[in-house]
Structures are given as structure tokens and as C-alpha cells.
């Protein structure tokens, strides 16, 4: 039976529990990636044991087809993925915020042109663009991969920052600054940016989880970084060397599960922040 419409529209408590759980998951993964290697000192790239050994007390997550330790790779992969995620998100954020601010604050022709560009990039699927660009580079270090991900993932940030800027730019305090003779640059820095800071932080968190998933996608198709370990290239080798069909579950489940845990906890944190900063979703 349907409930009365009225019951749906009651205010809800800020979902602290959701935030707590996500932070706990996130911290666990971080600890695994950053503190883990100081306790578990096996080299991720060294051949340390028998080939394809299942998890045991000696190799907690088993070994891969080369005899490399999966747990050691996982810990290095977390760092590698986070590094690419953080860098790519910073690049995308920078582009998105700049374009959004310019379009929203300057308006008119600049706005039209920038939004046209944004819509075009938005319409072209970012993962396909990434694959296309990456295909032309034989050697891809983590920075290049971050740049490739960053320059294709900014459009939605630009759109959102633009609409926030539009709603801010006619407020009283902006007009006051204009009358006081501040330059556009000063106004943007002093009046606009601080007011969208919470939003920018949220966008960064979301971009980061998106970038880590994108890195894995690129790696899976063979276009990830050619240097260092990431969660994506652990999965890539597991895929290429038929870990699934040969039943080597310890090789492909942990990196994927770690990626999902990272991405999902970041998303939940962003959602919780959104509920906090955007009371419309919370109820009256």
C-alpha cells in the first residue's frame, strides 16, 4: 500500500552514521596504503615466493603468476591510485573552477563560448577521450595519466561553479566590493571563492573517486601508467593472465574491493557534505 505523501516530507537528521562509517572505511584503506608498508615490508615488485600461491600465513593475500606478493602490491597500489586520483582531481578542479568562474562572472560572450566548450566536452564521454589520448603515448608516467584524466573530467565542475557564481555575483557584498573599486580578480578571490569553498571541496572528493575509477579503466584496456603500481594495473595483469578463469580469486578481488571501498566512501562523504551544505535535501 502507498503511504500518504505527507509522511515522505518530514525532516531527517543529518546522517551522521553514514559519514562515520565512510570515514572509518577511508581511514582503514589509507592506513593500509601508508602505514601498512612499514609493518609489512615485502617489496611489491620483487619475486618472493612460489607462483600463484593462495593466501597463507606466509603470503596473506597470496602471490600472483610471477610469484610477486599480492598484499605488498595492494598496499603500493593504494598509494599509486590515490596519487593519480589526487593529482587528476586537482587538475580537473583547477580547469573546472577557472572556466566556471570566468563564465559565471564575466557573462555574455565569454560565458557563451566557455559553456559551448563545456557542453561539447560533456557530451563526449570522458573515458573514451582518455583512451584516445593515452593511445598515442608509449610511455605514460603517473603524472601523464593524471593529466589525461584531469583534462577530460572537468566539465560538470565548470557547469556547477558557473551556476553558483551566477547566483553570488549580484549579491550585496559583491556590489559593495565593486563600488569600493576592487578589481574582478580581487572580487573573485575575496567574495566569490570563499563562498563556494565548501562546494569546491565536495567536487574535489567526487573528482578523486571518479579519477581513481578512470585510472583503473585505462589500465584495464592497457593504457594505464607504465611506471609504478596502481590498483588498476594489478587488475590489468590479473585480467591479461587469466586470473579469473584460472580461479586465482585472491589476485583480482582485493584490488577491486579496495577500489570500490575507496570510491564509495569518498562518494558517501561527498553526499553527506552535500546534505549538510544544501539543506534542501535535508527537509524543512
Amino acid at each position: 500500500m502507498l503511504r500518504s505523501v505527507s509522511k515522505i516530507i518530514t525532516p531527517e537528521l543529518f546522517t551522521i552514521k553514514k559519514l562515520d562509517a565512510s570515514l572509518a572505511v577511508l581511514l582503514t584503506v589509507f592506513a593500509l596504503g601508508f602505514v601498512g608498508p612499514t609493518v609489512y615490508t615485502v617489496q611489491p615488485t620483487a619475486v618472493v615466493g612460489p607462483l600463484e600461491s593462495p593466501p597463507s600465513s606466509l603470503y596473506p593475500l597470496g602471490t600472483d603468476a610471477y610469484g610477486k606478493d599480492v598484499l605488498a602490491q595492494l598496499m603500493a597500489g593504494i598509494r599509486g591510485s590515490l596519487q593519480i586520483g589526487a593529482t587528476a582531481a586537482a587538475i580537473a578542479l583547477l580547469i573546472g573552477v577557472l572556466i566556471g568562474l570566468m563564465a559565471g562572472y564575466k557573462g555574455k560572450i565569454i560565458d557563451n563560448l566557455l559553456m559551448m566548450l563545456t557542453d561539447i566536452v560533456l557530451l563526449l564521454p570522458s573515458i573514451l577521450l582518455m583512451i584516445l589520448v593515452a593511445a598515442y603515448f608509449k610511455w605514460r608516467d603517473p603524472l601523464l595519466v593524471s593529466i589525461i584524466i584531469g583534462v577530460t573530467s572537468w566539465p560538470w565542475v565548470a557547469r556547477a561553479v558557473r551556476s553558483q557564481t551566477l547566483s553570488l555575483k549580484n549579491r550585496e557584498f559583491v556590489n559593495l566590493s565593486k563600488m569600493a573599486g576592487l578589481s574582478d580578480f580581487q572580487i573573485v578571490i575575496r567574495d566569490i571563492l570563499p563562498n563556494i569553498a565548501s562546494y569546491i571541496f565536495m567536487a574535489y572528493v567526487l573528482l578523486m573517486s571518479g579519477a581513481m575509477i578512470a585510472e583503473t579503466g585505462l589500465s584495464m584496456i592497457g593504457l594505464g601508467t607504465t611506471q609504478g603500481v596502481t590498483l588498476g594495473n594489478i587488475l590489468f595483469w590479473a585480467q591479461v593472465l587469466e586470473a579469473v578463469r584460472r580461479g586465482l580469486w585472491w589476485w583480482f578481488i582485493p584490488p577491486g574491493a579496495t577500489l570500490v571501498a575507496l570510491a564509495a566512501s569518498l562518494l558517501m562523504i561527498a553526499t553527506a557534505l552535500d546534505e549538510y551544505f544544501n539543506p534542501r535535501l535535508r527537509g524543512s
Binding site: 505523501v5 515522505i8 516530507i9 564521454p125 573514451l128 584516445l132 603515448f137 584495464m220 579469473v244 583480482f252
Partner: protein
């Protein structure tokens, strides 16, 4: 003065924008190899050329053919003109890895498998995701919503291909319920016999599920928020005070919330396609993802470019269709503003 209906204007604008986007994309395709230091295409040709020096005439012929197709010795604007005019007649060049097969033919033979996987999966996920999201929103702050929302959130972050690996491992490798690879048994010839169709569906199930299950999460999250916003709109309260039943009002809300999801469908298809291409690899499914992987690992640039051009034009065409559908369904666009 004859007036043009806003419906037509809307579609024309969308159509023009999509064409502009397509040309922007072609420009990127054209410019990328040429902008990258040491032009990878030129490097590849040099490599073929070196082999040609030591080899018989066939390789020399191959070299000449690709020099002709890429035209790297010509000025840039002529190269662009050649590139576009060959595209106009549907010539995507010749594959290197599958020489002498034409790129267009190759992609055309792999594309149906991708579309056959993608289109039903996208539509089923869209319908189920929207229904589940609306259900969660109607049951907001109940156990239903509290249980569903985290599931949606986590699902939306699962890469398609990782779920594909899990499903393959669980249901094909361990439980042996489904086949471990391919789109049909290698011993069978594709035909329209019931036996073949059955076998095809058997191979289809896991790839299809791995896309549907993940995509449901994203749609459900979006729909849930849309319905929650919509339930707060003035017309919901007014309709209730006119005495309308909950069922009718929730019907209104569902219909109005799903409109933005149609636009969302257009925008998300690319992401789903990207994920699905990689999912094909996991299942060794003979679609464009598989073809693209072959092309990438052999640096078959004509095939890479051609695959992308076909994929993106398919996407843009799908986008236009969805936009037209949307304009038709939403009366605010379809009906002219001739009030008074």
C-alpha cells in the same frame, strides 16, 4: 509570417549542436597524433618503412598505402581536407593489424555485438534504477530507504568490469552455470536457429548482468533525489488539497521526475559504453571493446581512430534520438508558448 513550432526549433538547435560536437571530435582525432611530439603515426610508418627496405614488394606496397592514407608529407590543411573528404564517403582507411581489411568493415562486423549488449542493458538498468529510486524516495526515512540507499551508492562506484570478473568467477568458473568466454559456442556457426539463439542468450547473461546491476545504482540515486525534490513542489500540496489520491499524485511526481532522467540517459550513455567495452574484454566478448583492445596492443592507429569515430557517432546519434524523444514527451518544449 509563418511561425515555427518551438519543438522544431529545439530539435534544430540540438541537432546543430551535436553536429558541431562531432566536428570538434573529428578535429581532436585529426590533431592528436600530429600534435604529440614525434608524431606516433609517423613513427609507426617509419618502422614499417624500415621493414620495407629489407622486405619484398608487399611490405613496400603496404608502406605506400599508409603514406597515401595519412598523407603526412602534405601540408596540414590538405591533410585535414583529405581526412574529412574520405570520411564523407565512409572511408575510414585500412587496418594495419588486419591488413588489408578496411577499418569500416571490421568495425561494422564487431559493432552489432556491442550494441546488442549495450542497448538492452542501458534500457533495462534505466527502467529498474528509476523504479527502485522512486520506491526508495516514496519510502524515505523507512527501513526500505535506509537499506537501499547505501546499496545504490556502493553499486554506483563498482566498475562494470570488476563486477564482470566477480560474476565470471562465481557463476562460470566456480559454479559452472554459465560459459566462461565468448558470445556463442566456438563450435557453432551464427544462425537464427533456436539452438543458437539459446546458446547466445546463455553467453549473454553474465555480461548483460554486470552492466545492468552496476548501472542501476546510479539511476536509482538520481531518481531518488529528483523524486524527493519533486515531492516538495507546490503542485503536490495543491493536488492533495484538491482531494487527489496518493496514487494519482505519486503518478504525477514519477512522471515529472523521470523527465530529467531522460536527458541523463543521453549524457550517461558514453560512460556506460566505456565501461562495457572493458567488460567485453573480461568475457572475451567479440564486440568493439575486444577489437579496440587488439588495435591498441598492436598500435593499429587507423583502426583505433576508426573505432572511435564509429563509437562516437553512434553515441551522438543516440543522443539526438533521446533529445527528440524528450522534447516530444515534455509539453513545456513541445507546446508553443502562445498563451496570451
Amino acid at each position: 509570417m509563418p511561425t515555427i513550432s518551438p519543438f522544431i526549433i529545439y530539435i534544430l538547435r540540438k541537432g546543430l549542436f551535436i553536429i558541431a560536437t562531432f566536428f570538434a571530435f573529428l578535429l581532436v582525432i585529426f590533431a592528436l597524433p600530429r600534435a604529440i611530439p614525434g608524431n606516433p603515426v609517423a613513427a609507426l610508418l617509419t618502422q614499417i618503412f624500415q621493414q620495407a627496405q629489407a622486405n619484398p614488394d608487399t611490405v613496400k606496397a603496404v608502406y605506400r598505402k599508409f603514406m597515401e592514407e595519412f598523407g603526412l608529407y602534405k601540408p596540414l590543411h590538405e591533410q585535414l581536407f583529405d581526412f574529412l573528404s574520405r570520411l564523407m564517403v565512409g572511408d575510414l582507411g585500412t587496418s594495419i593489424a588486419f591488413y588489408p581489411r578496411k577499418v569500416a568493415d571490421l568495425v561494422a562486423s564487431y559493432l552489432p555485438w556491442t550494441l546488442g549488449l549495450l542497448i538492452p542493458a542501458i534500457l533495462v538498468a534505466w527502467v529498474l534504477g528509476n523504479l527502485l529510486g522512486a520506491w526508495a524516495a516514496y519510502r524515505r526515512r523507512t527501513r526500505v530507504d535506509n537499506a537501499l540507499l547505501p546499496v545504490f551508492l556502493v553499486l554506483s562506484q563498482v566498475p562494470y568490469y570488476w563486477l564482470a570478473m566477480i560474476l565470471l568467477y562465481t557463476f562460470a568458473v566456480t559454479a559452472r552455470i554459465f560459459p566462461v568466454a565468448g558470445a556463442y559456442p566456438p563450435a557453432m556457426q551464427p544462425s537464427l536457429t533456436p539452438a543458437f539463439i539459446l546458446a547466445m542468450l546463455h553467453h549473454y547473461t553474465l555480461p548483460f548482468l554486470s552492466i545492468v546491476v552496476v548501472a542501476i545504482g546510479g539511476w536509482a540515486i538520481g531518481m531518488r533525489v529528483l523524486v524527493i525534490y519533486e515531492l516538495r513542489s507546490d503542485y503536490v500540496e495543491y493536488s492533495e488539497l484538491l482531494g487527489l489520491s496518493d496514487k494519482k499524485i505519486l503518478g504525477y511526481v514519477f512522471r515529472n521526475s523521470i523527465l530529467p532522467q531522460i536527458t541523463g540517459l543521453a549524457l550517461s550513455m558514453g560512460t556506460v559504453m566505456g565501461g562495457a567495452l572493458i567488460t567485453e574484454l573480461v568475457f572475451s566478448y567479440p564486440g568493439t571493446g575486444y577489437l579496440l583492445f587488439r588495435a591498441l596492443s598492436t598500435l593499429d592507429y587507423p583502426l583505433i581512430q576508426g573505432t572511435f569515430i564509429i563509437l562516437v557517432s553512434t553515441l551522438l546519434a543516440a543522443n539526438l534520438i533521446v533529445d527528440i524523444l524528450y522534447a516530444y514527451i515534455d509539453p513545456r518544449i513541445r507546446v508553443s508558448y502562445v498563451g496570451d
